[in-house]
């Protein structure tokens, strides 16, 4: 009885393996996408990924922020994900099995610090004694602490709270917080309800602290289905091209995906920097397999900052961040 069971199981396994070999195709692909305004929404809306991967069950999962995405990756819940540079630095340092394959977006004023107009906050120094919110571990939390440090303001002189973007919007409407650094589409709700922008992430980029989101793939998936990683990159590149070439139609898509008025969607779009795929292979972004670009520098400095904040145990050598960035798939798609 037992023997027969084992034999059947072995046969079934063999058959399944053979099938997997023959097709070399994942049954299901799960894409975790961040709840913000970028071309991933276009790719999703137009079904570009499904077009690249016929017969594959494609599942999109919306993730609130970098911290949740890290957990999803650590829990092996997604095949592809998106991460801002601080969570990426955390993931790379903690040796999560992922590689960065694509620039999802550069963050300009789509992320910003909003302050309550009636509180007379004109500089970061005025935040003393106030309640400030940011999603901990995200790009904006990183920029908040970085900006406070640059202006010589002690972060312990104010109350800094960890809230998810949607909770920030709710807390703002209730009047529980005086300032918050977070992103669209929720940022707008705060601005429209007695808020004004004090500083944007784009301004911080000019000061030498660029923030961005990078598309990542699970190592196991990339090893098993390398051609599907290329298909993913290709679909996302098509989405980016569509965004750059058809801004009006894109705005309509964003408005529909995020249930926003068209005007708001248009404004939010211009606050997000989309990088054409061939440009992503230049020095300012991913660089090439032979010579990695400035994204590595950003990762090193972000990780260094997080180590000083005691959020990371130690700073890894630069080479580890270089291996994390893998432009090879994009190079094939672009045709270099």
């Amino acid at each position: 009885m037992m023997k027969r069971l084992v034999a059947t199981l072995a046969l079934a396994t063999l058959a399944l393996t053979a099938m997997a070999r023959a097709e070399d195709k994942p049954a299901k692909v799960t894409v975790g996408y961040l709840n913000l305004v970028n071309a991933q929404l276009v790719t999703k809306h137009l079904g570009l990924l499904a077009r690249e991967m016929p017969g594959v069950d494609i599942k999109y999962v919306k993730v609130g922020g970098g911290g949740d995405m890290l957990r999803a990756i650590a829990g092996n819940d997604v095949d592809f994900g998106g991460l801002g540079n601080p969570p990426t630095a955390i993931g790379a340092t903690r040796a999560l099995p992922i590689k960065g394959i694509l620039v999802i977006n550069m963050l300009d004023y789509v992320e910003a610090m909003v302050v309550r107009t009636d509180k007379n906050i004109t500089s970061l120094k005025d935040l003393k004694g106030k309640t400030v919110a940011a999603p901990f571990g995200s790009t904006t939390h990183y920029l908040l602490l970085q900006a406070l440090k640059d202006e010589g303001v002690d972060p312990t002189s104010m109350k800094i709270l960890d809230l998810a973007p949607s909770d920030i919007a709710a807390a703002w409407l209730r009047g529980d917080i005086d300032a918050a650094w977070f992103w669209e589409p929720n940022l707008d709700k705060a601005v429209k309800n007695g808020g004004k922008i004090l500083i944007t992430s784009g301004e911080m980029a000019k000061r030498g602290y660029p923030t961005w989101d990078i598309g990542v793939v699970m190592n196991a998936f990339a090893e098993k289905y390398p051609s599907y990683v290329e298909k993913f990159v290709k679909a996302e590149c098509e989405g980016i091209d569509f965004w750059l070439k058809n801004p009006e139609k894109t705005a309509e898509i964003i408005a529909e995906e995020l249930s926003l008025p068209l005007d708001d969607a248009t404004r939010m779009m211009t606050g997000t920097g989309m990088v054409p795929c061939n440009k992503q292979l230049t020095e300012d972004y991913l660089g090439t397999s032979a010579k990695k670009g400035k994204f590595v520098d950003t990762l090193v400095s972000t990780a260094d900052f997080l180590v000083k904040q005691e959020r990371l145990p130690k700073l890894l050598p630069r080479a580890d961040f270089e291996t994390f960035i893998q432009p090879a798939y994009l190079e094939k798609v672009v045709g270099r």
Partner: protein
Amino acid sequence: MSVEASPMAIPISADRTRRSTLRLRLPKVSRSVLLSSLTIAVLLATWTIVTEMGWANELFLPKPQAVWAAFIKTMTRGYQGATLLQHLGASLYRILTAFALACLIGIPLGVLMGVSRNARALLNPLIEFYRPLPPLGLYTLLVMWLGIGESSKLSLLFLAGLPGIVISTIQAVTSVDPVYVRAAQSLGATRRHLLFHVYLPAAGPLILAGMRISLGFTYTVLVAAEIVAASAGIGWMIWDAAKFLLSDVVIMGLIVLGLTGVVLDLMMRGIAKLLMPWA
């Protein structure tokens, strides 16, 4: 004991009986302690072996030494601006306040619902409806109503603790032997006398069991309560450390949380023994 009590048995071998009682008893106590220690030892040994042999990814299961180091570091230097004791204090304050409120409201409510059928019919729909609601779903609403401060956290913990205590108090009161009640009534007891001298003493042990369960429920929602806009608390520390994948801090926090739960439970049992020696 019964052997000693019997006058027939004494002349035969009082000495031997006492010795055998001793022999039977002492090992019994130390045996359960021994078995419990064995479980802990096996767990620790497995943990050590698995991590030392490199069978587990250190990201998911750090070595016991790493967790101990995280404990020492958090005790002395703190985690993100507060030491372990401060985190623990913040959490215990929340838990104990909410639990005390749940007892203060839950026990009288339970007694009322247990004694009066009308009260039970009136209040049952409310209790039965919200009892199975998942705390996080409830929490979103609580945050919108009460804000991100302490009141929403305390309310969530309170609401998690309340139904357990109400339901077991009802159970306790309705299962009081009616003979006690009738006996007291025939001796001229008033409602007040009945409540304090019959219902509460007789139902005490079961109410206490409900309190212990309810404290457990309060614990289960602690992390959820501290996710939103806390900057101290063991639950917050666990949640925050998970964001940065600091699994040593996560595991340390869980162990500390578990141990405080055990200590609180022991304390409740001790108090119960003092207050209700008949239980």
